[in-house]
Amino acid sequence: MTATMRGARGEVIRRPRRALAVTIALAVTALVLAFVALGLGDYPLDPLEVVRAAFASDGSFATTIVLDWRLPRVLVALLFGAALGLSGALFQSLTRNPLGSPDIIGFSTGSYTGALLVITVLGTGYVSTALGALIGGMLTALLVYLLAYRQGMQGFRLIIVGIAVTAMLQSFNIWLLLRSSTEVAMTASIWGAGSLSLVGWPQAWPSLIAFAILFPAALLLTRPLRQLELGDEAARAHGLRVEGSRLVILIVGVALIAVVTATAGPIAFVALAAPQVAKRLTASAGLPLVPAALVGAVLLLVADQLAQHVLPGSVPVGVVTIVVGGAYLIWLLVREAKGRL
């Protein structure tokens, strides 16, 4: 009996050990990539020069480039990626479906609608656009939730309703663009492609403050999330307040993606893919939150560097993620369809 119990504990420890190793590896990867990214550009610096520039407060040109120009964008790519990964993990766990991602079920599109209304009707101020996106995303989430709610919430219904609402909002968005002047439509389209190119410190700060609240909040939801995976009845039998927990998860998940969309526009794919990649890397049951955040951070940073330095012209990062994401989505749909048939 002792042997089997030791076996039991050994396994209980071994799996988190793999998860821990993967988590550390991902964090190191993100950090190394960040240093490389800080050196990339028209004024290339090797990692050593980056470190020197960052810590020497001599007001040299290199310091200005690294700290004032490149750091906010790299930091924002990491943190936005993490937020998208977290949001995706929360929603996919909630809906028990890898397609139940906030970018698929309409919250990004809703944010875009909010931003479009502000740009086309009120003018193009940065803060008001961000606010419009935030409110648009929240209202869409509320609408989808209410339409999908019937004696409790069921994941699959939420996805179907979300896809329907997305389709309606997309046609509304196109109508908004068509009836606006060319100049306004251009501005709106650039925002709508999802880009980090306009993000500097002034735009980064509000989202950093929001993340300081939202990241810990998301991590506190881990245990309720693990209970919800067992089904509503088992979760309730274990003493979880099921509807209340679900609502909090929904709010934190929407807030995470709304903050990103408000600042950078809709960035597809990261929320969809990061949780699934993290699950496969860690071999964990359910979608692990911290690894999902780290995978999201690495994905978005790499995509943004590709958009900046590898692709010709200045391509918005949203375009890169959407191309990679489209391929992933097709693979996912085919796999899901096979599972169902």
Partner: protein, 265 residues
Amino acid sequence: MTMEPRLRTTDVTLAYDRRVISSDLSVSIPDGSFTVIVGPNACGKSTLLRALSRLLAPSAGEVVLDGKSISSYHTKEAARRIGLLPQSAIAPDGITVADLVGRGRYPHQTLFRQNRVGDDEAVALAMVATGVDDLATRVVDELSGGQRQRVWVAMALAQQTPILLLDEPTTFLDIAHQIELLDLFADLHEAGSTLVAVLHDLNHAARYATHLIAMKDGQVVAEGPPEAVVTAELVEEVFGLPCLVIADPVSGTPLVIPRGARHRA
């Protein structure tokens, strides 16, 4: 007899939306019993179990646990007193047996106070009691139906509640695994747990229950020890099935032998 049982319902009305399943239903679960609820499909037995386990809030009356309305408990406090093995539990894919059983520890954990040693101990005990300790490192999806059902029982046991409710625990198992599981419940009962199960098989109910509740149309028709409850008249009244009741040659408990349309004199 002056002591009130720990778990009972007082004049409850149980309904889904406006569809009333039971009204003015008062049921007591004798402490330390292995109570089995039987009755035809849609008689309200699972609904009663859902109410006892606070998955369904009565629209009138209340479920009383240890002298207080069950709805007045903090949900985790109630979950430390009553465990439930639901029919609908889902095993997250890729989860190991030990991990799944550990999920039953939720009501004993709080954000800032986690008793890892106590949790590990409870999980190990639950796995030994259900005979799945050898499977601890296995992935649940790969287990057989009988093994998986034992793992779910282990999860409920890890909750370490004095009262355990079981919603049709033997459905979908072959006869050998059904008996194996019922023997396990009998062991748990002997070790001091109060068990309440919904079962379909009358003969299994008569063999293993210490207290039987027969329901029809949302009401209790008869309750008591199986010998008193399982009679030919009652089975015909409750299930509308003519039958012969004899003493089970193995256990001596009542054995129901149905007379289908083809076998009526």
